[in-house]
Symmetry: C2
């Protein structure tokens, strides 16, 4: 049950975007160069974020990606779901359908208590992720590492040269 590494990339990239001036698109190549990541593959993750409505993309010169909403309205769950997809971690193949006394009409995803217990855990996980916005994360970083935002912006302007 390993999460895609794209989630980590997307998290840090979205966080970086919160510090860059709004209304200005940043191309995937520069976002990738920041962490020396393969640009084409990061682009793929950014596409997923764009499809999910987390970032907006503009093609052409001076184009790139930017946050589609204010950081207050982007939760960590939004980012994870954009990359990993909406389906829950536990996969219920309705094993009970193959057991004795199975009713083909029953939806065992709802009836099976194992499935329900796993879903409870899944919801707890999602609740925790949905409770933190990108703005919260940004504020935490600014408090704990005050130099970080400045360094980030400087590095990006340097890449702009």
């Amino acid at each position: 049950m390993r999460m895609s590494e794209g989630v980590e990339w997307a998290m840090h990239t979205c966080l970086n975007l919160t510090w860059l001036p709004t209304g200005q698109a940043v191309p995937a190549a520069k976002l990738a160069a920041f962490y020396r990541l393969p640009a084409a593959y990061l682009n793929k993750q950014l596409q997923a974020l764009a499809r999910a409505g987390v970032v907006s993309s503009t093609p052409g010169p001076r184009g790139g990606f930017q946050l589609a909403r204010t950081p207050e309205k982007i939760t960590l769950l939004d980012i994870v779901v954009a990359i990993e997809g909406p389906e829950e971690a536990f996969r219920c193949d309705e094993l009970l359908k193959r057991g004795p006394g199975a009713d083909p009409k029953t939806d065992y995803r709802q009836a099976c208590l194992v499935s329900r217990a796993m879903r409870r855990a899944d919801l707890a996980w999602r609740r925790e992720l949905a409770g933190q916005t990108l703005a919260d994360l940004k504020a935490d970083v600014e408090q704990e590492y005050p130099a970080s935002p400045g360094n980030t912006v400087n590095r990006f302007t340097a890449l702009r040269a």
Copy 2:
């Protein structure tokens, strides 16, 4: 981030074991036949459960698997960890090590606030799973589906023929 289907198999198999007489080993072939699963592959999952100390295995005739402890002392987290491994879902590759101003001596798994936020969610998930024991699940099933335990035992004795 799809969980292995072995988790579902392990959950239902362990639950079935709670209803069968204690002190009596059940071979993997019978546990598999209950849900018409591939016996060799379920055996693999049971091996993982045995390595984790959730079930105990005895070879030879009249051998098989049985719960290693009472259901009260087996949490759902124990089963999930046995199959999926102990590492957390979010994979922190310490991206910040590749960013500007990175300190090679810093453990970014602890310092990175993204990593910490994801770990919080992971812990919430684990807490929920650790809060439910196999005995709880068994009791819930017996209350909601009183016929289920009897059906299970009957089916197993039928397979014994």
